[in-house]
């Protein structure tokens, strides 16, 4: 019983991280109908920003960690805006395939620049936040960093919902998503809204990067690839473009992976994760929470 509960906690904690990264994927897709494959590398830049910023604050303090988290989110927000301006804006209005391939190019560029600037060796990530392990009598263990991932993922989920549904910018984002031409006709500055979307998405990636690195304290320039792909699976699983769907998809994927390992199939962990992607695309292409809609022309 203890083992089952512990595996449940493991799975949910892993899933919460996938959910956090998936939020950024899904938001950019929801507004622009474009999968930003560079997201996983902005995630890596977020972790490295945390690594370098972490040298200026005392380790293991709540305010220091929060400061680093916000700093890394700001750095990545700027990076997101720059990437959009340099790489995606000149291609706006072209086919989605062009943008998609450019996104892969940006991803490779960030990975290789990362290897050039930071070096290809893994570095150990400092303990930014206070570390506690809550041990129950039954032997069940929950670590503070696992709880932190949950809390931050939930907070960001609700903040994001609030921004998209309740604010003027959010209304503009939805209008843009619905029909960009009509949106600009009624006075929405499309460039600014898209820049804001990228800033927000990249800040989410940075938060994901820092929390991921706090849980698994070894970072390198290629660290984003696998979690990024998994988060993409999570986003599709939940219904890409749907914010709550990203959270559900992340948690489901985390639980599935943990279940596979717990049942003795640890070698097939990644294979099962991607088999889930294939299955969902075959059986329910709009995801668990996605609604089918007519293709816009």
């Amino acid at each position: 019983m203890t083992e089952l509960l512990q595996q449940l906690i493991n799975g949910l904690a892993l899933g919460a991280i996938y959910a956090l990264i998936a939020l950024g994927y899904t938001m950019v897709y929801g507004v622009l109908r474009f999968i930003n494959f560079a997201h996983s590398d902005v995630f890596m830049v977020g972790a490295f920003s945390g690594y370098f910023l972490g040298k200026y604050v005392p380790q293991g303090s709540m305010w220091g960690g929060t400061l680093v988290l916000l700093g890394a989110m700001a750095i990545c927000a700027v990076l997101g805006v720059v990437i959009e301006k340099l790489a995606y804006r000149p291609l706006r209005g072209r086919s989605t395939l062009t943008a998609l391939i450019t996104a892969i190019g940006v991803s490779l560029l960030l990975q290789n620049l990362g290897q050039r600037i930071f070096g290809a060796n893994p570095r150990s990530f400092p303990a930014l936040f206070p570390q506690h392990h809550f041990q129950f009598k039954s032997g069940l263990v929950i670590s503070s960093s696992q709880i932190m991932v949950f809390v931050v993922a939930l907070l960001l989920l609700f903040a994001l919902r609030h921004i998209v549904l309740k604010t003027r910018t959010g209304t503009a984002m939805r209008a843009l998503s619905f029909n960009p031409v009509a949106a600009s006709l009624v006075g929405i500055n499309n460039d600014r809204v898209i820049s804001f979307t990228f800033a927000l998405g990249s800040a989410l990636a940075a938060a994901g990067g820092i929390l991921y690195a706090s849980n698994y304290p070894s970072i390198d320039p290629l660290m984003g690839t696998l979690p990024g792909l998994k988060a993409f699976v999570a986003a599709v699983l939940g219904g890409i473009g749907n914010i709550a769907g990203a959270a559900v998809g992340g948690l489901v994927l985390g639980l599935v992976e943990t279940a596979v390992v717990a049942l003795g199939g640890s070698t097939y962990r990644d294979a099962v994760a991607f088999a889930v992607l294939i299955l969902i695309l075959l059986l329910r292409p709009n995801g668990l929470l996605g609604r089918s809609q007519a293709e816009k022309v």
Binding site: E3, G119, N121, P122, S124, V141, V261, G264, R269, D270
Partner: protein, 386 residues
Amino acid sequence: MNTVSLRLLPLFVAGVALLAGCSKSGGGADAPADAIVIGEFASLTGKEAAFGQSSHKGTELAIEELNKAGGVLGKQLRLVAEDNRSTPGESATIAKKLITRDKVVAILGEVASGRSLEAGPIAQAAQIPMISPSSTNPKVTETGDYIFRVCFIDPFQGGLLAGFAKNTLKSSKVAIFSDVSAPYSMGLAQFFREAYLAGGGQVVSEQKYTGGDKDFKAQLTAIKAAGVDAIMVPGYYTDVGLIVAQARQLGITVPLFGGDGWEAPELLQIAGPQALEGTYYSTHFSPESTDPLAQKFVAAYKAKYNGETPDAMAALGYDSAMVLADAIRRAGTTEGPKLREAIAATKDFPGATGITTLDAKRDASKPAVIITVKEGKFHYLETISP
């Protein structure tokens, strides 16, 4: 058309400049043209960079000492070192490049058995001797009669770890947690399992991971539930560091132990000194050794690399170059077949890691040491002879 190409020109120039900056010149630039060229491939960057860096530094020290003493056969030695970035699929290409373009007389490398296994067939086919400093999987030298190593092999290491787990750790039920992507890890796990079962112990849980994984909690939870006295982790330090840290987070207090793949200062940084208390690993060499040759090596290494203490990979990197130089001297030539025979005849060669004698299977037989972590430092525990 014209405007487009003009606009792209600065980009093109920048690209060429970048590429030019990337390509590196190989080895000592001041070596004369008729120098003896020795190739080396190592994981200088990437996941197992600590292995490649240590091994390479040891090899460089050996080459420097040999050259200062007048070289070999009246010629200076020139080392061409290539990086395989710790990734699979690079080492064979590098071996080809070293043989065909740099015309090396022999190849030194690698630490990880998987990557030595990639380069081995290339060296064998070209009849260029290859000496691995510290690949312990038996299959490495089974590739062919041109492949040698200067370290012990995993049947010995697995056996001594089984004895250690049973006698020193007083365990009777262990778990094995191995890396499916590394031949080293799978081999060591297998030899350990055989020896441990033969000694009357029980392996109650076997879990697997893939090198580069970050989350091990699901496997460790299953191991914890199985109720074990100790956990054997035959992996490489980057993964082992995270495994040890996560095991302690899950409240696993039993000892964890493994083989020479643990040997890297980075292990302390990744796992944290507290988590590593009560962990053990076997390796080839301890800088605390009182052997005069080992002490001479430690002193020379510290003098060359700003007081850095050498580890086993550095000592074996040094010995691999020394064994090769000795063989070239005895062969009197650098021709592949004759050099191969001379290396195969290596007997009682004194080095930093002790006496090297190559057997009929081209493997060395050497004592191993057990290292433990106490208060954030690596400490020598005991020596186990074959």
